[in-house]
């Protein structure tokens, strides 16, 4: 323990913590901007560059100096004042300088009311742009399907750079230029579309301002809804229902499945379905593929392929390993393929007039939906992808009072789901779901104990051996692309052997996706969302994908059996070698 004096109060604090941590633990607020510390996912951005958190440190001789609270460790006997005129003036000046180099279009900015710079300006009572002068000039990049880079709104906090390089190891971003023209950019200022970006969107999650935002498809979806010639159906990913409530001030982890369904109907969607249904379908195909590979000496390990950011990552970074991911399309793409065939026929709708919209926790899904090979008969499986945040925006725009909506059920035919599909939204969930079905099939009957707790948790890389019938399945799990890289390098170099591996690009899996409500740096929110998914799984009658009645009907009536010719045509895909730029 160390003795410190903080704002004239003598305190005992733990050794080795920063001034910022000591202050926050004792109820003293010090504003920050660049700082972000999520040690559990190695997202540690203690660069000390914004200089907003300056505090005054008093020397024994009475003189004093300013130190960045986020990057200064406390020492025994340290005397700190956080709110002296000198410290406050420094802080204010920093924010004023930021404002002098920041576009003033707050009203039309996607991050309006949800911007850390805006909050600072408000908190520090800034009322004019006293240092107005030359501003850095950069071009906005809207080239990709997933995200927009607007470097003029960048405050050089470097969080995205840390996220992209240290956590995700994708390396798309670097600081470029110097002086006032410094920005976080891509190699050669290439548009994002031409880079190795996976569109995981984690950079958006950590951006404090509107410098990194999602591409919005709200306008297009409204047009489709309002087009009387179109039948617009919507599907919702598992991770959305445990996060959407946050946008409407509900407690973290609240499951809003019923309200979400009701809300989508009120927005004007013709039918509301569940991507969970398609998750069960994915398990049917994936478990089948796994057993096939295990029994018939196919390529092992088999990697899951639900995550489009992860798929793009392996295409760029490990182009020689493209034979190991499962050939299964991701669940919402499978949903689209089935909706525009099987469902269209059932509903008596011309597939050409059916519009499939996915509500996803993800911005990479937007890019995925536009991949050429994810179409059948020239008709894209999925037409539009909206993020959890976009859905909340639409509800606010439409004036729908989300909190007072009744609970409603998904529409039939593609609305039923098992507990296995629900946990797709968190790390370890897909592989647990696959194991449930694979173990049942290999053992000849549905297993009794479906909870494979050894596959759960938030460790970046996990492994476990589970018994499936007579086979011992060695399972690997990684979430976060940096962890995925480590695992893949080990596989490439023959250092470890698995039967199956689940990889999710976002730390925590889809609950921590780049399209989810902003969570600041509070990773307990991600854990709470995951917990809520496991609770729903437990509450379900049907816990295994192959027991889903609607899935059984789909195979009986349409697909015949997992891995059938028709299934391959509609539900499987292939991968493309890409340059590592």
């Amino acid at each position: 323990m160390a003795n410190i004096t903080l704002n004239n109060v003598k305190l005992q604090v733990a050794d080795g913590i920063t001034v910022l941590e000591a202050a926050r633990a004792n109820g003293v607020n010090i504003p920050t901007l660049c700082h972000m510390d999520m040690a559990d996912i190695k997202m540690i951005n203690k660069v000390g560059t914004c200089r907003v958190c300056m505090v005054e440190v008093v020397n024994p001789n009475g003189s004093s100096w300013l130190a960045p609270a986020c990057a200064t460790d406390i020492w025994d006997g340290m005397v700190i004042n956080t709110n002296t005129p000198r410290a406050i003036k420094a802080r204010r000046t920093m924010v004023e300088l930021f404002i002098s180099n920041h576009p003033k279009d707050c009203l039309a900015c996607e991050r309006n009311r949800n911007c850390e710079l805006q909050d600072l300006a408000a908190d520090l009572n800034i009322r004019d742009d006293r240092y107005a002068g030359k501003m850095s000039k950069h071009t906005k990049d809207t080239s990709s399907r997933s995200l927009i880079r607007d470097p003029e709104k960048c405050v050089l906090c470097r969080r995205c750079e840390t996220m992209c390089n240290e956590v995700q190891t994708v390396g798309v971003y670097s600081a470029v230029n110097r002086g006032l023209e410094t920005t976080i950019g891509t190699a050669f200022d290439f548009p994002m579309l031409d880079t190795a970006c996976t569109f995981c969107g984690q950079c958006i999650s950590v951006c404090p301002t509107g410098a990194l935002t999602q591409i919005s498809n709200i306008g297009e979806v409204w047009s489709e809804i309002n087009n009387p010639d179109k039948v617009v159906i919507v599907q919702t990913a598992p991770a959305v229902r445990v996060a959407l409530g946050e946008e409407f001030n509900m407690p973290v982890g609240t499951r809003v499945t019923g309200k979400m369904v009701a809300a989508l109907r009120r927005l004007g969607f013709d039918h509301v379905y569940d991507t969970d249904f398609a998750a069960d379908l994915t398990i049917m195909e994936e478990a089948h593929e796994l057993i096939d590979r295990v029994k018939n000496g196919g390529t092992l390990p088999m990697l899951t392929s639900c995550c489009p950011a992860w798929v793009k990552f392996i295409e760029h970074q490990f182009p020689t390993l493209l034979d190991i991911p499962s050939s299964c399309k991701s669940p919402h793409e499978m949903f689209g393929a089935i909706a525009k065939t099987y469902l269209a026929e059932k509903l008596g709708v011309d597939p050409g007039k059916m519009v499939v919209v996915s509500i996803m926790p993800c911005v990479a899904k937007k890019y995925e939906a536009a991949r050429e090979e994810l179409a059948n008969d020239g008709n894209a499986n999925v037409d539009y992808v909206l993020t959890t945040r976009e859905m909340a925006s639409m509800l606010r725009e439409a004036g729908i009072n989300f909190n007072s909506l009744p609970d409603e059920d998904f529409d039939k035919v593609m609305g039923e789901s098992s507990g296995a599909s629900v946990i797709f939204g968190t790390t370890g969930g897909v592989i647990e779901a696959a194991v449930r079905t694979a173990a049942s099939w290999l053992g000849g009957e549905t297993i009794k104990n479906v909870d494979f707790k050894e596959l759960r948790g938030m460790e970046g890389i996990r492994e476990a051996t589970v018994k499936a019938g007579e086979v011992e399945l060695k399972i690997g799990i990684a979430h976060g692309l940096g962890n995925a890289r480590t695992l893949l390098e080990n596989i490439r170099d023959g250092k470890c052997q698995y039967h199956a591996i689940e990889i999710m690009a976002c730390p925590g899996g889809c609950v921590g996706g780049g399209g989810q409500p902003f969570y600041g740096n509070d990773r307990t929110i991600i854990a709470a969302r995951a917990k809520s998914l496991y609770a729903e799984d437990e509450a379900k009658q049907v816990r295994c994908s192959h027991e889903n009645a609607e899935i059984k009907a789909l195979y009986a009536e349409f697909l015949e059996k997992p891995g059938s010719h028709k299934a391959h045509e509609l539900l499987h895909t292939q991968y493309v070698k890409r340059d590592k730029l």
């Binding site: 660069v47 920093m94 110097r178």
Partner: protein
């Protein structure tokens, strides 16, 4: 000759050198011509001069005369120059000569004793005391024999054979040597930190900061070009003391000659076994490599330098951890600048007590300054710490050219300040210069006269800082840009009195909040000129005048009616046709000319054309 494997080998090598290649150092029976072959000299044509001297000596069979290429003699204003040391002890300079003049030096002066116009008497070094520059101008930097002949590598030998590592550090601490790179941190204490910090790998590094970026400073270049071995020897001594086996010199890409000479020196030292494995028969290993910067002033900041050495953008790191804890490749690292290193062998050889006899109690020793600007003797000087600015300008620098009045002395480059003539009696030392709002810096000293506008000078330095800011932290990236904009506004005549308040306030916050030394000190040129030259600022913002006449936007070109006789020459040369004719001149049927102030672009083309000097600038 074989490798030097012991002290006695070194002595034998020294004796052989003195009897052979290096006899010019002791042999006063011959005439010796030292040609300054540093960058300045070479640029001014010293290579041709040297070739001409040798050719003429050979052609005419001049006896007992040798030509020695050497480093910077220090008198840049006189380049190319040759120092002629006669057997009788008399020394003269042949300065500002070309190849033809050089031939005459041989044929007229040496052979016929006729001193031509370019033979000048030796003015001596006057108040100068040469420690860091002790060998510059006296040895051939490309020949290790010369360095050994003047006692080189004896200090390293002394450390390796008769001093403990702690003993070396103790001696350095006792000497009171402070870092000459600008911060003045005690070198011995720094080495002690390096000695005490250990990493699991056991690896440590010795760095030499030769990224001399201050505009107007060239001390390090001169030392590297004139006496590279002194730096290598010192780095090896530091390596021994700290426990490091690897040294890296980080220098500017703009210094190709220094790099070339360092490479030669390292090659020779390795060949002689004075660097490498088992130096001088001991178990001490030390290698040195050179790394080039790529044009970023901020890399003079040691943590930025370290990042640059790691192949990254030269952005400074947060400290702590300090380089002595986690430096290059996150291993304990000791970094000193070139001039500091150059002093080390002398201190070890002659002892800390000797060193303490020079300079002040608080800062023993000397400091090298690059004297430039409005001064007669532009060049490199080395004076004891505590010498006053006035002594430097007038007694060493020979005063200002053209009889102009001294206005200010700028020290410390973009990080320093402008010291007014009223404070010219200030003795130079780290603390004294800090106290008056400037700093020692690495040793750039620019003399400014009455024609220099202090607002414009502050703007010049801010322009430099803005250009060189790494962009990492907010106050430097945006704040210094805003300071520059305000200064620019003032020099354009659009400034207000409120701007002067903002300049000071913002400058102080930038000093207080920047992440590294570059940002911390960037406002110094502004704050010091605000302190000492407020009248000049006020003249710009209130009267919209530039008293020094340097800010073109504030100049007014006028025709004095009484002097104009209507010759039309000015109107004909005006590029924007803004000189018009008005009333007829009385007693002359020509017309009086006036300059349209709204149109005038202040190019000054009309002034020299006027035969009666009727056009004045205000």
């Amino acid at each position: 000759m074989a490798k030097v494997k012991s002290i006695s080998d070194l002595t034998a090598y020294k004796n052989a050198a003195l009897a052979g290649d290096s006899k010019h150092i002791v042999d006063s029976s011959i005439t010796r011509l030292y040609v300054g072959m540093a960058t300045c000299g070479v640029a001014a044509g010293a290579a041709d001069v040297m070739a001409a001297l040798q050719e003429e000596i050979d052609k005419n069979g001049v006896k007992n005369t040798i030509v020695i290429p050497t480093g910077c003699i220090g008198m840049c204003y006189a380049e190319p120059m040759v120092e002629i040391r006669h057997p009788d002890g008399k020394t003269v300079f042949a300065s500002g000569i070309n190849a033809d003049d050089a031939r005459k030096v041989v044929t007229d002066y040496l052979m016929q004793k006729q001193a031509g116009e370019f033979i000048k008497p030796n003015v001596g070094y006057g108040k100068q005391v040469r420690v860091a520059l002790r060998n510059c101008g006296n040895i051939n930097p490309e020949n290790i024999c010369d360095y050994v002949a003047v006692g080189g590598y004896e200090a390293l030998a002394k450390c390796l054979t008769s001093m403990s590592r702690e003993g070396v550090i103790e001696e350095m601490k006792k000497s009171g040597l402070r870092g000459r790179g600008g911060a003045g941190f005690p070198t011995g204490v720094k080495w002690e930190f390096g000695f005490k910090n250990n990493s699991p790998s056991g690896k440590k590094y010795i760095l030499c900061n030769a990224d001399e970026g201050d505009p107007g400073a060239f001390m390090d270049r001169a030392i590297l070009e004139g006496d590279p071995h002194s730096v290598l020897e010192a780095m090896a001594i530091a390596g021994y003391a700290v426990g490091a086996d690897e040294g890296v010199i980080y220098t500017r890409a703009e210094y190709p000659l220094a790099v070339e000479r360092l490479n030669i020196a390292i090659g020779q030292a390795v060949e002689k076994g004075l660097l490498g494995e088992g130096i001088m028969g001991t178990d001490f290993n030390f290698t040195i490599s050179i790394s080039m910067g790529a044009g970023a002033f901020v890399c003079g900041e040691e943590t930025a330098l370290i990042n640059s050495l790691q192949g990254q953008r030269g952005e400074p790191r947060l400290r702590p951890p300090f380089p002595a804890q986690k430096g290059l490749w996150y291993e304990p690292t000791v970094n000193n600048n070139v001039e500091t290193y150059a002093m080390v062998p002398a201190i070890i050889a002659k002892g800390a007590d000797w060193f303490r006899t020079i300079g002040t109690e608080r800062t023993p020793g000397t400091k090298v300054f690059a004297l430039a600007g409005k001064i007669n003797n532009v060049g490199l000087i080395e004076v004891p710490i505590g010498t006053t600015l006035k002594e430097i300008v007038y007694e060493v620098g020979g005063g200002l050219p053209g009889g102009k009045a001294l206005k200010s002395i700028q020290t410390g480059g973009p990080s320093g300040g402008c010291i007014p003539v009223e404070l010219q009696d200030t003795p130079v030392d780290f603390e004294t210069l800090n106290a008056i709002g400037s700093m020692m810096g690495s040793g750039g000293m620019v003399v400014l006269d009455e024609d220099d506008c202090m607002v414009n000078i502050a703007k010049f330095y801010l322009d430099f800082t803005v250009e060189e800011s790494c962009g990492k932290c907010t106050p430097c990236r945006i704040g210094n840009t805003r300071l520059y904009e305000i200064l620019d506004k003032i020099t354009m005549g659009h400034g207000t009195e409120q701007d002067l308040v903002e300049l000071r306030q913002l400058g102080e916050v930038i000093k207080d909040t920047s992440l590294c030394g570059l940002g911390n000190s960037a406002p110094n040129p502004v704050l010091s000129t605000l302190n000492y030259f407020m009248d000049e600022y006020k003249a710009h913002v209130i009267d919209k005048k530039c008293p020094a006449g340097a800010c073109t936007d504030l100049l007014t070109y006028k025709v004095v009616p009484a002097k104009c006789f209507g010759c039309t020459l000015c109107a004909r040369v005006c590029p924007v046709n803004c000189i018009h004719t008005v009333d007829e001149i009385v007693g002359n049927n020509k017309k009086l000319h006036v300059i349209d102030q709204n149109e005038c672009i202040k190019c000054g083309a009309c002034v020299p054309k006027c035969p009666t000097k009727a056009i004045v600038v205000e």
